[in-house]
Structures are given as C-alpha cells and as structure tokens.
Symmetry: D2
C-alpha cells in the first residue's frame, strides 16, 4: 500500500447525489480539493492567505479512476501523498476508500503548480521548503 501523508474522513451529504442516487463525478473533485487544502494547512500553507500574497495554487491535470460509487450516507476516507513532480510542479496522489471496510472508491493523480496574477509560475518559499521536506521524508 502507498505511504500516505494525510487523510481526512468525510461523509456523503444528500445534496451531493445526482439523479442516479450516486455522488456525481464532479463532486469528488470537491472532496479531493478540500483534502489537499486541509493537508496544506497542516504544513502552514493557507490557500486564502497565499492568494492574498498573489500566489495561486492551481491544478493543471487531473487523472481519475472511478472504481466504486458512493451513495447516501456513505462514510469514506480521502488519503493523500504529496510529491514533487518537477522544479515547479507538485503531484498529489489521492485515493478514496469507503469506510469501514476500506474498499477503494477512487484513485487520482493531481498535478499542479503555483502562479502569480499574470499567469507566470511563481513558487513561494514555503512551497520550496515543502518540496525539500517531502524529498527527505519520502
């Protein structure tokens, strides 16, 4: 099993279901984003504060495999592994498991970078530090 750096337990809310009675595909991106932002807070990166300092953390690529469908009331865990992908790109490996039996629901690879208002790549010191920390720790 992958080594994860963070996990967040959540529960399906009924307004997230579509007419099939299943969580709509787009809603999983909300779960994934929320979990990334919560992870980033644990290492001192607050998405809203970054934005005020003209750093925009953006996703440039999503790769998602949907393995199981979540339905009303399901509890699940979103697990996350952080990696540096290149000088200016980060990679989140994010997997969702249903609880309590831990069957896989979704696997995602999320590539992103950090931009300034004018759209240029601009990596803040705290993100560079994160890159170093997670190179060492693995």
């Amino acid at each position: 099993m992958k080594k994860y750096h963070f996990e967040l337990d959540l529960r399906v809310r009924d307004y997230e279901l579509d007419m099939l009675g299943m969580v709509n595909n787009s809603v999983y991106l909300n779960y994934l984003e929320h979990t990334r932002h919560e992870f980033l807070k644990t290492v001192g990166i607050h998405f809203d504060q970054m934005f005020e300092m003209d750093y925009r953390l953006v996703v440039t690529r999503y790769e998602i495999d949907y393995l199981r469908l979540l339905k009303s009331g399901d509890r699940f865990s979103v697990k996350l592994r952080f990696e540096r992908k290149s000088r200016a790109q980060f990679l989140f490996l994010q997997d969702i498991y249903i609880l309590p039996d831990q069957k896989p629901v979704l696997n995602a690879k999320v590539v992103g970078t950090c931009l300034s208002k004018n759209g240029r790549v601009k990596i803040p010191e705290i993100l560079k530090k994160l890159f170093l920390d997670f190179e060492t720790k693995g």
Copy 2:
C-alpha cells in the same frame, strides 16, 4: 484538428467562480457532462429515460488537462468526439475553447460504460447502434 461530432456554446456564470475569481476545476466536469448529455439526446439517448429503464451511463475515468482559466463572463465552446473504446466502453474526447478566439482551455478524455442497478455491465441496443454508427462515420 480533431474531427468533432458535436459542440455546445456556453458562458461562465458567476456562481461557478471560486475565490480566485476563476471557474473552479470541478465545474468543468459539469460543463463536460452537460455537453455529453446534450450530444446523446441528438442520437436519441436521454439520460433520464435510460435511468428509468435501468441503464446507468457512468464515467469510469477522467483525464483532464487544464490549459487556461475561465473567468467571469467568458464565452466558450465545448467540443466532443465520440468513440467506441472496447466492447462495453465508450470514449469521449472533449475539448473546451474560449470564444471568440478559440484558444484551448481544456482537453479531456472521458471513458465510460453502462451499468444496471446491480452494477453489472449492460449495454442497451441504442448504444450498440451508436457504436456501429460512429465506427462507420469516423
């Protein structure tokens, strides 16, 4: 340029923007789903009627590259190419271009299949016909 089978022109609505003032990543999946459903209607497949007949068209994989960010009021075109991927899988190639200058915003590959309520693959005749039609037309 890819040969597309369908396109739909839309416009960003302000409630789709996140705190960066940009369309949130998850919202693009709404645009893509809506365009697929509109295309399917043109070939006689209505998502809600299919569901009533116990056919659930589901996405099993998304691959999305975000190339540009859409913002308040932007007009854009969602183009779609339909292909058969395997006996029971379809593939939508979906690209978004900003209007009027047609710069690329997003490229997506969307793999899906059709399931019955119990989760088994179950392909309706009208989808089999679609597979055949689009093999011939290319």
Copy 3:
C-alpha cells in the same frame, strides 16, 4: 433563546466560496438541507429510503436572513427546531451560528410537505408520529 431539537457542527470548505471569498448564498441551503436530513435520521426517517417508498419530502418555502458572511475555514453550528405547521406541512426553524463565539450568521424558516410521485400530498405514518412527538415535547 429558541429551544432547538438538533444541531450539527460543520466547517467551511474552500470550494464553497465564491469570488468574494465568502460562502455563496446558495451553499447555505446545502448546509440547511444536510442538517435537516441528519436530524430526520435521528428520528428514523431516511430521505433515500422514503424516496424508494414513493415519499418525497420537499421544501415549499424558504425564508432566509443573512446576518454575517462565512469565509475560508470558519467553523459554524447549524441548529434546528422542528414544528408542525399544518395538517400536512412541517416547519423547520434553522439558525446558523459561527463558532466558537456563537454570533448569528443566518436565520431560516423552512416550510415543507411530503408528496407522492404524482405530486399529491401523502404523509407517511412515521412523519405523523413525528408531528405528535414534537407537539408533546414542545
């Protein structure tokens, strides 16, 4: 202070913010609906199971006063009081308070009823029982 029958503590997720950096007005209806459904579970009414038995709990009127704006990371409590409004209508008084200081964020009155598929009012026994229970308890 009102006597509440149920409360649920939640936290703002960044995807719920709009371009003002504040929770969008429409998102509060999600918070309110989710809290009602969680309350209903505690009295044995599961929204999805009701639907399978052809009972649709629907809202017919919302009255909402927005007193404060929630922003990134805010914790808040959604409190709820259940009342019978008429023979076939229920009323939820729902208030949101920011945590930990309990300042009011929103006051809502939510009127609803229960319909069958054909749109006729149809109140299940378990809801009639709920009406009685909450008349007694106050």
Copy 4:
C-alpha cells in the same frame, strides 16, 4: 401580471438534479443570482469589476416560494423586477416560469445591499443612478 425589467431563458442541466430527479432547491438560487448579474450588466454594473473597486453586492434576505418542480431538460424563464427598497437596499422580485406554457415555478423576493471590504454599507454612484432610473420608469 407584474411588470418585469429583464428576463433570461435557461434550461435545466442534468447535474443540477438531485436524487429525486428534480432540480435541487439550492440550485434555484444559482439561477436567480445569474439572472440578477446578467440584468446588472445591461445597466453597466459588472459584479466582478465592482468587487475590484471594493463594492460587494450582497443578498441580505431571500424569500422563496417553490410552486412547481423542474426536471431534466425543462426550459424556463427567469423574470426580474428591480426596485429600491430603502436608502441603501435594493429589492429584486424574481419569478420563474416553465416554458413554453408559462406555468409559475417559483416566486422570490431578494433584498440586498452593497458593502465595502470592512462590511460597511457603501453605495456606488452607478447604483444610486439605477435607483433613480427605476423610480422614474416604474
């Protein structure tokens, strides 16, 4: 019939439906907001530009009666009447009608004001002008 100042025709998108197969209550607030923003553009008020100039148009009260449910593919018209409510408050009367038969779907009263970043009421000249224009026209 009310005298309306603006109307916008829209169509239900499948991702807006909840597990009942009906447009979720919260989604109507998106329709209403989008229509207000489109109306405001016609009188020269762009929500995003206002925000950059530190004017935040906010809703302080919603009153909504749901009369009919919208479902997959339904076309509808959102009609709007703008009124000044007080020195610093505006009122939108917004009604939704299903198309083509114009049966009423929803009636809403939406009260709002304009705030600066620090939360103080701050009415821009262009909004004062709008108040005057619509007093004269009726």
